[in-house]
Amino acid sequence: MSRFRLAIRAPAAPCAAAIVFCLLLLASPLRAAGEKFAARQGELAVAAQNDAPQRHVPRRDADHHSLTDTRWQWPTWDDFVSVVSLRNVNTLWVLLGTTILGVSAGVVGVFMLLRKRSLAGDVVGHASLPGIAVAFLVCEAISPGAEKSLPALLVGAAVSGLAGVLCMAGIRRLTRIKEDAALAIVLGTFFGLGIALFTVLQSIPSGNQAGLDKFIFGNAASMLGGDLWLLAITALVVLLSCALLFKELSLVCFDEDFAAVQGWPTFLVDTVLMGLVVLVAEVGAQTVGLILVVALLIVPAAAARFWTQRVLVMTLLGAALGGLSTGLGTILSALFPNFSAGPIIVLTGGAIFAVSLVFGARRGMAWRLITLIQMRNRVGRHDLLRAFYEALEKSSARNGKPAAAAALTERSIGLDDLLVRRRWSPPRLRRLVAAARRQGLVVVDQKQLRLTEAGAAAARRAARNHRMWELFLIQHADVAPGRVDRYADQIEHVLEPDVVRELEDLLARGYPELAVPASPHALEPAGGKP
């Protein structure tokens, strides 16, 4: 335990500083907006008191939307302008709240993803339903018929979410049931209990059920001033704990056993992480709903993974993408006020995930595809040049010495001579020749191919690399001469210059003439025409 230092370390210090800086930066415009908002809230409250029975009349940009309300239309230009310019104070505050939520969920999600526990957030979300119902009952018993206080409901949710996590851990540790089944059982059972309790609550006559529905599907638009404070405090707790425990969390995520051996309290670190998940899930449930809150935890983190290999960068990116997806989603849902915001926010996150999946700089598919294509082109070029060299080798050799580059450029050969050298199809060979011609390695003259100066040098290099690797395999890896060709074929394209130098050193004694060694095996055409 003595190793469990809370000292601010190198990556943590800038994070904490950045958080404080951002808060300071936001403080003054927020205060001004906050005063306007408070005035508006006052008006709303008065209005609500005046027409208390008609609370659920749909309003354009706020308030409750039942899922069965079917009216929707495309936003008009005026709507669009008013939403995007954030002229509406309500929209601004909702946007701020959801963005804060997205940032904190993104940060926690990164560690959950690296810990391979992404779906635990799903269990926490579903398992908090019975706690909300019980908290509601307790409130109802204390002051019947009153509006339920949000913190009380959240405490109930957090307690039962934690109970779900404990059940899961208990099942995993004490029985032969594996983690995935433990997740499913706890999730289904707790949610079933919650639904049973909810149906009972609905039959309590004096019960004021306002706000309960909000937890299941979420309702971002009805965010109040108090909610925003709650979100801000949550974000502060999450960001500070992640910044201070950055080293511990990354260590446990990457190598739990190593962390334990080094004396770090891995169980405690895990508990802190699960505590943060519960915190984010319960606070986030109001915005996107219990069922979808797991998306805030998983999707931005999974998207961030495509862009980087470094934990710190990934954490910052997770925060940024989380904030971006919830923020954009909120603006979109303000444009379509008859849809609930939760699904729109999740789908926005999904779009960001899809973009990252394709274009991510480190693991994105486009990037990997480009690398693959470049590699294939390189392999093709090497194959073509080596085939060229082998075809010209005999006739260009001068009294036993390997063909000089100049000699290679003198003779030209037909496409058919190359075609029999390897198992390649005529179209592929033609494509390779065309590419080599564009690169200035080959000249085509009346269907006869001739190497240029640069092409001859590259051809010599390709043949040389191939043969040196073959010799290395024969001398140092005991591979039979008949088999080295294929092995060398796989490796010759990725031989770095320093590897080539090492090969030269290794082989120098046996082959004083290393310009291009003679092939260690017979160079027959690769089995006739394909």
């Binding site: 899922l67 779906l119 099942i171 029985t175 289904g188 079933g192 069922i291 999974a302």
Partner: protein, 464 residues
């Protein structure tokens, strides 16, 4: 309180019966694919499929609506067609979700559970939005999808439609398992071996996904989209704790599913009235039966986790405790034997507190150990203290013989320093029976008289 509960249950009617039958059939239909999901460690795939099937159902309804507009489908198509469309839509979208998850996992190199989480949340969100767009055409109530309406099963005459649908799905699932038992079993336990033997494990995987999606969508009209996850996994997990054989596991999970449905509905009817009447709410009705069915199957799982004969927490800790007691008793015998051997105990009796200090266990365990030994006649308590009977001496001799033979064996075959021999022998002695001791003695041959510490190894029989 029990009387109260029985009074409420006395009002059990045909409606309750149909609710239980529908719930039981749904749970049983789910338990069949659930067994294989559990064994393949893909339980959360069930959760994902149940979420994605919402999208499938909505899309299927929109498609059916379009077909009806085009005049290819009778606009008033109901019953069978209605269910077939729902099931087909859920199967297609479920398969799509499974394929997409695997694709993202493989091509995007995303961790499996994260890929699953990304796909199913997005599909579910899309489903929720489309429900909104389609609601006026599709007649889907999201609340009903979420919570299930098993209570409506009892309304009307004859066999209710949901019971019929779930019954058919159950029969189909059982038939499929019966036909493909061998293939399902081998691809669940060892996909690599299955592929090597010519069973297409990938095809089995996708077939299982499709069947699960179809089963879930048939069931969730009754029990709701999330509760159905408990029905899918909890009964198979309960059965998994009770048996080690796949065939029996499926049968037990069917029974557990049915019992869970019955218990759940009874709890839904009885518990709210009893509990809430005490809290002062006299008007509350019954709770959601679907929810309570999930709770009941969770409770059954909890009971199995605690009390299962072989894999239960209690029986495992009981077995461990008994082993500990046996080892403590044997240690006590061995200690007394060694004291006798050294002539340290006056007149063959040892003071209890001396023994207590020498044994590495708590006071209670030591007392229990000596009590069991006295009961089976290995130990006598006299005024001078503890003393071995002839029977006890026999047992102790075997133990000490095993200990010293093991030390000699280790010293002969492993290059261990002499002070490392005792600890290993202290553990091994409790597991060396007469047969093993004889083999050890045979292996050691001439050296089997004295142990590495110079003490003589007692013979199997008392020669004195």
């Amino acid at each position: 309180m029990i009387r109260e509960a029985l009074d409420i249950l006395a009002g059990w009617s045909a409606i309750d019966l149909w609710i239980v039958v529908t719930g039981a059939l749904a749970a049983m239909a789910c338990a069949v694919p659930g067994c294989f999901l559990l064994l393949r460690r893909q339980s959360m795939m069930g959760d994902a499929l149940s979420h994605t099937s919402l999208l499938g159902v909505v899309l299927a309804f929109l498609a059916a609506d379009k077909l009806a507009d085009l005049g290819w489908l009778a606009p008033a198509a109901k019953g069978g067609v209605h269910h077939a469309i729902m099931v087909a839509g859920a199967m297609v979208v479920g398969l799509l979700a499974a394929i997409l998850t695997e694709w993202i996992q493989k091509r995007g190199r995303v961790e499996a559970s994260a890929a699953l989480g990304v796909v199913f949340t997005i599909f579910f969100a899309l489903g929720l939005l489309l429900v909104r767009v389609a609601a006026d055409k599709a007649h889907i109530d999201p609340d009903c999808v979420l919570y299930g309406t098993v209570e409506s099963a009892g309304i009307g005459d004859g066999v209710p439609e949901p019971a019929l649908v779930n019954g058919i799905v159950l029969l189909v699932n059982l038939a499929l398992v019966f036909l493909f038992f061998k293939e399902l079993r081998i691809s669940a336990f060892d996909p690599g071996l299955a592929t090597a033997l010519g069973v297409n494990a990938r095809a089995m995987h996708y077939a299982l996904m499709a069947v699960t999606a179809a089963t879930l969508v048939a069931a969730y009209e009754s029990v709701g989209v999330i509760v159905v996850v408990a029905m899918l996994i909890a009964p198979p997990a309960t059965a998994h704790l009770l048996t080690d054989r796949l065939g029996r596991m499926i049968l037990i999970s069917l029974v557990v599913a049915a019992v869970g449905a019955l218990l759940g509905h009874a709890m839904a009817v009885v518990l709210p009235r009893i509990v809430f009447a005490r809290l002062g709410y006299t008007t509350v009705g019954s709770a959601s039966s679907a929810g309570m069915m999930a709770v009941a199957s969770g409770l059954l799982f909890g009971a199995a986790a605690l009390f299962a004969p072989r894999h239960g927490v209690l029986s495992k800790s009981l077995a461990q405790w008994r082993l500990g007691l046996k080892i403590a008793a044997e240690d006590l015998l061995g200690l007394l034997y060694r004291l006798e051997e050294h002539g340290l105990s006056a007149h063959g009796a040892a003071a209890p507190d001396l023994l207590q200090r020498a044994l590495p266990v708590g006071r209670l365990t030591a007392a229990l150990a000596s009590w069991t030994l006295r009961r089976n006649g290995s130990l006598l308590v006299t005024a001078g203290g503890y003393r071995l009977t002839d029977k006890g001496r026999m047992a102790a001799r075997g133990l000490v013989r095993g200990h010293r033979l093991w030390e000699s064996y280790l010293a002969k075959h492993f290059p261990l320093p002499p002070d490392h021999l005792h600890a290993s022998a202290e553990m091994a002695e409790h597991y060396l029976g007469a047969q093993l001791r004889q083999e050890l003695a045979g292996e050691l041959a001439e050296t089997a008289k004295v142990d590495p510490h110079g003490r003589s190894i007692p013979g199997e029989k008392d020669k004195a």
